[in-house]
């Protein structure tokens, strides 16, 4: 539902006659232009995966991380303007540490998501600030179990079973909906996330990409960490195989 908001789109403090704030919608477009990021909530944890588009052959593999740990028990995958994302991650880490200093226990994931969302929303309220050009998928595991939240540039935040943002989000969402997440373990989830990312990657339009994945689950002792090397390679191999089989059909 895109339209040109000529005249009403110059400032984030201006509403259009049909009640839209165009600057926020344009910010969401910045997210749509970035590599896909997805998250799924399995029965024993959360898996995050990112299609990290490689812009230069000289880039070191493993650099330009798109997934960050917010706290011991949670992590966030960022899509959109990288510098904006860095700011959000810094703020999230700070909120998490402050909460623990004050209340003596790890911040509940729901509370953390609320704080991220409030911060992102804050930047849509003043004319001298521009909205963040990035969306965040926040996954964590606390006393209330594994949880997955997504925060959009507008400051909206919802809790999800599966979420996708970026270029291939529509295709990714379709694939995620096919999964039986309530019965899936994170080990299986890792394989599925890799398959989906490989599937939605557009070989024609984009060049090479690097798959970045993290999880927080019972197996990782409820700590947010990169998916272990061997499992990651296994997932990549399985994903490539699945792609070839699909192409062969």
């Amino acid at each position: 539902m895109s339209s040109i908001g000529t005249g009403y789109d110059l400032s984030v403090t201006t509403f259009s006659p049909d009640g839209r704030v165009f600057q926020i919608e344009y910010a969401a477009k910045a997210v749509d232009n970035s590599g896909t990021a997805i998250g799924i909530k399995c029965k024993d944890g959360v898996v995050l995966g990112v299609e990290k588009l490689i812009t230069s052959k000289m880039m070191l593999p493993g650099s330009n991380r798109r997934i960050h740990s917010a706290h011991r028990h949670s992590g966030m995958a960022v899509a959109g303007l990288a510098a904006d994302g860095r700011q959000i991650v810094a703020r999230t880490k700070s909120e998490a540490t402050n909460y623990e200093s004050t209340y003596g226990e790890a911040i509940p994931v729901k509370e953390l998501a609320d704080r991220v969302a409030s911060y992102v929303h804050l930047c849509t309220l003043y004319w001298w600030l521009r909205p963040f050009g990035c969306g965040v998928i926040l996954g964590g595991y606390d006393r209330d179990g594994p949880q997955l939240y997504m925060v959009e540039p507008s400051g909206i935040s919802y809790r999800y079973f599966g979420a996708a943002i970026g270029k291939g989000k529509q295709a990714a969402k379709t694939e995620i909906e096919k999964l039986k997440l309530s019965e899936m373990t994170c080990r299986e989830g890792v394989m599925e996330v890799a398959k989906i990312i490989y599937k939605v990657h557009d070989e024609a339009k984009d060049k090479a990409f690097e798959l970045e994945m993290s999880w927080v689950c019972d197996e990782s002792k409820r700590q947010h960490e990169k998916v272990p090397e061997e499992l990651l390679e296994e997932a990549k191999a399985a994903a490539r195989l699945a792609l070839e089989e699909m192409d062969a059909d």
Binding site: Y103, G104, E105
Partner: protein, 233 residues
């Protein structure tokens, strides 16, 4: 011996918090003294912080009240923000932050106890300097000096609710017998998954310990009832 009635109110006190299988029992005496004078002989030293967390107060009455008030206020906001009851750990931490950050001005020892759905019954001791210590049982106040040996012998893991309450009442009663700054009645508060129960144990219902005398009834009582030995004026 001068009775300065304008002295700061202090709660000499005996306070106790004990965990049992399923919750906690908090207990305290009821004497508030101003120097040698008993300003309040029926005070309530067990104060509510939230529906599921209470605190036993000792030391300066004013200091412990103000700390409780601030923490109750912060916890209320926290509960609204979180959308569910605060945990005992969070309550205890807020108390600790107040006690530690204002240690130069405060003189109060506190025992925070309660029940939450994640950890069950928990007791946290927060003595003078603002340390926080999670313990299966905690004792505090001037009367607690006389109870260390008693608890070493009488405490055991996994008591029932009644055993725990009896232990607390017995302990406070023993401390009252020996500590001049503790006295009055024994109040207990039991907190568990089912809620909160307040109990009151009047002074004369407590058993007598070594060399304690039978309480002397008021002469007015004797006057109004038939007695074998009427008073001769």
């Amino acid at each position: 011996m001068d009775l300065n009635l304008n002295d700061e109110h202090s709660m000499g006190t005996t306070i106790i918090g004990v965990t049992y299988d399923g919750g906690v029992v908090l207990g305290a005496d009821s004497r508030t003294s101003t120097g040698m004078y008993v300003a309040n002989r029926a005070s309530d030293k067990i104060t509510q912080l939230t529906d599921n967390v209470y605190v036993c107060r000792s030391g300066s009455a004013a200091d412990s009240q103000i700390v409780s008030d601030y923490v109750r206020y912060f916890l209320h906001q926290h509960t609204i923000q979180l959308g569910q009851p605060a945990t005992v750990k969070v309550a205890a931490n807020l108390v600790r932050l107040m006690a530690y950050n204002n240690k130069n001005m405060l003189q109060t020892g506190l025992i925070v106890g309660g029940w939450d759905k994640y950890e069950g019954g928990k007791i946290y001791g927060i003595p003078l300097g603002g340390t926080i210590v999670e313990q299966p049982f905690a004792i505090g106040g001037s009367g607690s000096s006389y109870l260390y040996g008693f608890f070493d012998q009488a405490w055991k893991e996994g008591m029932t609710k009644d055993e725990a309450e009896q232990l607390v009442v017995k302990a406070v009663s023993l401390a009252i017998a020996r500590d001049g700054a503790s006295g009055g009645v024994v109040r207990t508060v039991i907190i568990n998954a089912d809620g909160v129960t307040r109990n009151f144990h009047p002074g004369d219902s407590l058993q007598l310990w070594h060399e304690e005398l039978e309480p002397q009834n008021s002469l007015l009582d004797i006057l109004n009832t038939a007695s074998p030995e009427p008073m001769n004026f």
